[in-house]
């Protein structure tokens, strides 16, 4: 322990402040980097290769070898390679934004390596379930590491918080598509750890998340990760998904509390006490209400588009330049000085802002409609009667981490 401390402490003692950052009299704050230094293309393809190998290995370990230890070792490797070495970038989660921007913004081409980072886990998930989440995603792997005393969460909380990833996904796509912001990157709590470089606010958020992660396993994955939404959908239709039991389930119930993520679905043979007819009626009503939910979402999205557009820097600038917000004899803020020196007229700025707000109107409506659809489908899903005889992982929410496998006493012949 002392030896470890010395090894860690000594470099710090020897560290020298060589090149302090320049001082800005205007109060300008140097932003925390959102992207690490660019690497050569061959190295970017190397990352893709490592991703592919890691995914293949994890898939093999989960589906064939059913080895939790193997998955754990891969997760350590992922934290080291994709986390600390690659500093969390490029990541598959953030790649959503690159792809959105490429699809909807006219002047951006997504690099093939980023596209590979986006598509490869999705393809693997479609084939083999969420093996990416099991050990390859450094964020998930990190959270897995700190899940020391996981507690079961109430179903109501799971349901309530379960809407957040959809919101996050929608907003991330909206802001990336309008070239406003890379939301996922800006509010990524893990890159601060991997890069040892975060604002104080983010530092506190990370601390809170880690503390939460000790008691609530994988909080980011379950209640924030926007990529998880896509993986959830892919995994539901996966060709081969991991099973708790290697053979037939014997309903021994030993795996009931095995999953810290509440992803195990219990057998359900009894009928709904409310009655089949009532259930069907409810379903019909919800299906009929679905277009209303979607339309309601579209309408709400249209109403909030200006609020959402307010994040855009050009819109914010136009807002700052309004007469109501300018005061004589106040020191000029850097944004106005920069704008004045840009050579762009206010007329041009207004024109640009009008176009941006129009894009946001369309995007917000689509976003609202999407949330309405998700809302409606979630309600419908909760009405549907499941019939199961075995203990099975929920294909959508199971992270294929193989933690539950050790609980199953069944041995394959």
């Amino acid at each position: 322990m002392i030896f470890l401390l010395i090894i860690v402490f000594l470099p710090g003692v020897m560290a020298i402040q060589r090149f302090p950052k320049p001082e800005f009299e205007s109060g300008y704050v140097v932003p925390v980097n959102q992207l690490p230094v660019q690497r050569g293309e061959i190295l970017a393809w190397l990352d893709v290769a490592v991703l592919l190998i890691a995914l293949s290995l994890v898939t093999y370990l989960v589906l064939k070898r059913r080895s939790r230890m193997g998955v754990f070792c891969i997760s350590l490797f992922s934290i080291a390679y994709f986390g600390f070495y690659r500093q969390g970038c490029v990541c598959s989660i953030g790649a959503i934004q690159n792809v959105s921007m490429a699809l909807f913004s006219g002047n951006y081409t997504v690099p093939l390596t980023v596209l590979a980072f986006f598509l490869t886990p999705l393809i693997f998930t479609l084939l083999f379930g969420r093996t990416f989440c099991a050990a390859v995603c450094p964020f998930g792997a990190f959270q897995d590491l700190i899940a020391l005393k996981p507690l079961r969460m109430g179903a109501w909380l799971n349901a309530f918080l379960g809407i957040i990833p959809y919101l996050y996904l929608g907003l991330a796509i909206l802001y990336a598509a309008t070239a406003t912001e890379f939301l996922i990157c800006r509010y990524d709590p893990f890159v601060g750890i991997f890069r040892l470089n975060a604002s104080f606010g983010m530092f506190l958020f990370v601390g809170l998340l880690m503390l939460t992660g000790v008691f609530i396993a994988r909080p980011y994955c379950r209640f924030l990760c926007p990529y998880g939404v896509l993986l959830n959908w892919m995994s539901r239709f996966s060709w081969k998904h991991m099973n708790i039991t290697p053979a037939e389930c014997i309903q021994c119930r030993l795996c009931e509390n095995a999953c810290p993520y509440d992803a195990i679905e219990y057998p359900q043979v009894k009928k709904n006490p409310a009655g089949h007819r009532k259930q069907v009626n409810k379903m019909v009503v919800l299906i009929l209400l679905l277009p209303i939910f979607i339309f309601g979402g579209v309408w709400t999205g249209g109403k909030i588009h200006r609020t959402l557009a307010g994040v855009n820097s050009r819109v914010r600038l136009a807002h700052i330049l309004q007469p109501a917000h300018t005061t004589n004899n106040q020191p000029e803020i850097p944004e106005i000085t920069a704008f004045r020196g840009s050579g762009i007229t206010q007329q041009d700025l207004i024109r640009e802002v009008t176009r941006i707000e129009h894009d946001f109107l369309i995007g917000s409506r689509i976003f609202g409609g999407f949330i309405g659809l998700v809302f409606g489908l979630t309600l419908i899903r909760l009405i549907i009667t499941p019939y199961r005889t075995d203990y099975v992982p929920n294909k959508g929410t199971c992270f294929s981490c193989a933690k539950c496998m050790d609980y199953c006493p069944v041995v394959k012949d």
Binding site: G12, C255, T307, N328, N329, T337, G341, T345, I383
Partner: protein
């Protein structure tokens, strides 16, 4: 096989390790937070001690001990700041290390400790209850989401609602003036041009209660030509369809010409269908109102005998005369000033509203700074030998609203009003500086020493840069900001009379010896220049994408206001002129040495 270390001892050891590392994690975390908060509070550039010493330095600027002390304290403050930053960084590494040890210990305990699965008593009916609860909470989440969204939309809608539509950029967005599209309107009576319902009235704050004037909006001002060099005195006209070809001698495209009774070098101003100018000799001072449609003199107001007018005439030269200052109007009253300091306000029917005398100017060429309006304030630049000042009088009553002394030499330039996108500034130029004032209060906003000599040209402004020029001095480009600075300067082509004009990223300078130069306003690089071979006293005006330059012989040289030299036309007035043109829609009003001309398309 017997284990090297029994599990129980290992678990004990790991537990102790985890407690120690947990303790250190908390400690490092707390230290990082404390150091960060301390760092946030300190400003190494402005410590109390250094601020005190800097104030002392102002009193004793050349004290070497003081300078040395300031440097040392500054160095210590910076060292302390960067040491704190280093501490935070090192602390982060230590925190990470201790967390890593903690996690390894706890994970190891988890691996070693056998876990026995527990089976809870559960009923299959629980699923339906759980589903019910989930259904309810999803519903609540949906309602909450919609409510929060609509609430946010309601509150932010108010804040963001003020961003104007593309075609309706309000008055303070004056940087866009050069691309502002104004539909040409006929010069018909005021009531038919802009309906009352579309007016956005500015209330006078100098009027008596219950008798407020309704001042024109920026758009209304720009539909007219109410002061020297245009609406804000910046050399930009907003009219469209401006004529390019005429011949004064033959009358081609000359709608009318009218002899002006008394001479004067002031330029015409225009409001709706009325043109105003003044004339004066040693004994008489008059203001004329002409009908823009036919040049008929509708009225002339004799301002020769106003109260307080000095009995002696001011010293003037032949090139200035007694009526060199251009009038101004706010659409309600017309304001005129003469070389002897007589200042008058008249209504649109020629009735005298108020008069006063500002004192005989001590000006060896004769006072020639023109007037300009800012809302209901009449701004007067009154730089004389020995005492410079700028003042604002209430348009309605003539009462002085503010006066600001200027430590400048006598000048003949005129004030320019600009809206920088952040605030409106009143820009004046006289040796030794270009200065900016708040037109509402007269407070000096900034000044920059960059000009010398007998300053005749006014400044130009475009896109955050102010341009000043004077012969035997320099052409200076000042970048505005929290501290205006000199962006670039040039001294090859300098004007002593015509004012420069700027639009977007182009600056045009016309010298009095007849050279017109186009600069890149941002870098100062010359795009082109052209020798007109004729002297020019009139200031150039940019209108409808073209720059109009009237030489002393009465020839108008028209170029594209572009970075490529392209002459559009040369048209002759048939009479010499030193006055600056005024623009109406499809019209130009040119004052020659004897006549006022109206040129049509």
């Amino acid at each position: 096989m017997k284990k090297l270390i029994p599990d129980i001892i290992l678990i004990k050891f790991l537990r102790r390790m985890s407690m120690i590392s947990g303790f250190f994690s908390l400690l490092f975390c707390a230290l990082i937070c404390i150091t960060f908060l301390q760092l946030k509070r300190t400003d190494p550039l402005h410590t109390p001690v250094s601020t005190l010493l800097q104030e002392k330095l102002i009193q004793y600027p050349s004290s070497p001990n003081l300078i040395q002390e300031i440097r040392q304290i500054d160095l210590l403050a910076r060292k302390a700041y960067f040491t704190s930053e280093w501490q935070i960084r090192t602390g982060s590494y230590l925190l990470l290390a201790s967390l890593l040890i903690l996690i390894i210990c706890l994970k190891s305990i988890e691996l070693i400790t056998p876990r026995i699965p527990s089976i809870q008593v559960s009923e299959q009916g629980e699923l339906w209850n759980m589903r019910k609860v989930q259904f309810r909470w999803v519903l609540i989440a949906g309602i909450a989401l919609v409510s929060i969204s609509l609430t946010l939309a309601f509150f932010t809608h108010r804040m963001l609602n003020g961003i104007p539509n593309e075609g309706n950029v309000p008055e303070l967005f004056s940087r866009s003036r050069d691309s502002l599209q104004i539909n040409p309107v006929a010069q018909s009576p005021a009531a038919s041009i802009i309906s009352d319902t579309s007016r956005n009235k500015l209330r006078s704050d100098s009027g008596k209660p219950g008798g407020d004037d309704e001042y024109p909006t920026q758009q209304e001002i720009r539909l007219n030509f109410p002061s020297f060099r245009g609406p804000d005195g910046n050399g930009i006209a907003f009219q469209k369809n401006t004529p390019v070809s005429w011949d004064g001698a033959s009358g081609k495209n000359v709608l009318w010409k009218k002899e002006i009774p008394l001479p004067g070098y002031n330029s015409p101003i225009l409001w709706n269908d009325r043109i105003f100018l003044s004339g004066s000799n040693e004994n008489k001072r008059e203001v004329y109102c002409l009908d823009a449609a036919n040049g008929k003199i509708l009225w002339s107001a004799d301002l020769s005998k106003i109260k307080g007018s000095p009995s002696q005439n001011p010293k003037v030269t032949a090139e200035t005369g007694f009526a060199a200052s251009t009038l101004t109007t706010d659409g309600i009253r017309i304001y005129a000033i003469f070389a002897n300091g007589d200042l008058s306000a008249l209504d649109f029917n020629g009735g005298i509203i108020w008069t006063k005398n500002l004192g005989l100017p001590n000006n060896h060429y004769g006072h020639s700074s023109s007037l300009i309006m800012y809302h209901d304030l009449l701004i007067i630049q009154y730089d004389q030998s020995g005492s410079g000042k700028v003042m604002a009088l209430a348009g309605r009553t003539g009462d002085k609203k503010w006066e600001t002394s200027r430590n400048v030499k006598v000048s003949w330039s005129s004030p320019v009003l600009v809206n920088t996108g952040y605030r409106t500034e009143l820009l004046l130029s006289a040796e030794p500086y270009v200065a900016s004032y708040d037109p509402a209060t007269g407070k000096e906003l900034w000044k920059l020493d960059c000009i010398s000599g007998e300053v005749g040209p006014s400044v130009a402004y475009a896109n955050g840069k102010v341009f000043s020029v004077n012969e035997y001095s320099k052409l200076a480009a000042i970048s505005l900001g929290s501290i205006p600075t000199l962006a670039w300067e040039d001294n090859e082509y300098l004007s002593d009379v015509p004012s420069p004009v700027a639009v977007k990223d182009l600056l045009f300078v016309v010298t009095s010896y007849g050279v017109v130069v186009c600069y890149d306003a941002i870098t100062g690089k010359k795009h082109w220049f052209k020798e007109l071979d004729k002297p020019v006293y009139s200031s150039p005006i940019i209108a409808d994408g073209k720059i109009y330059i009237l030489d002393k012989q009465g020839t108008m040289h028209i170029f594209q206001a572009d970075k490529t030299l392209a002459m559009v036309a040369e048209s002759s007035l048939g009479e010499g002129s030193v006055c600056t043109p005024a623009f109406g829609n499809g019209r130009i009003y040119l004052r020659g040495n004897r006549h006022l001309f109206c040129i049509k398309k």
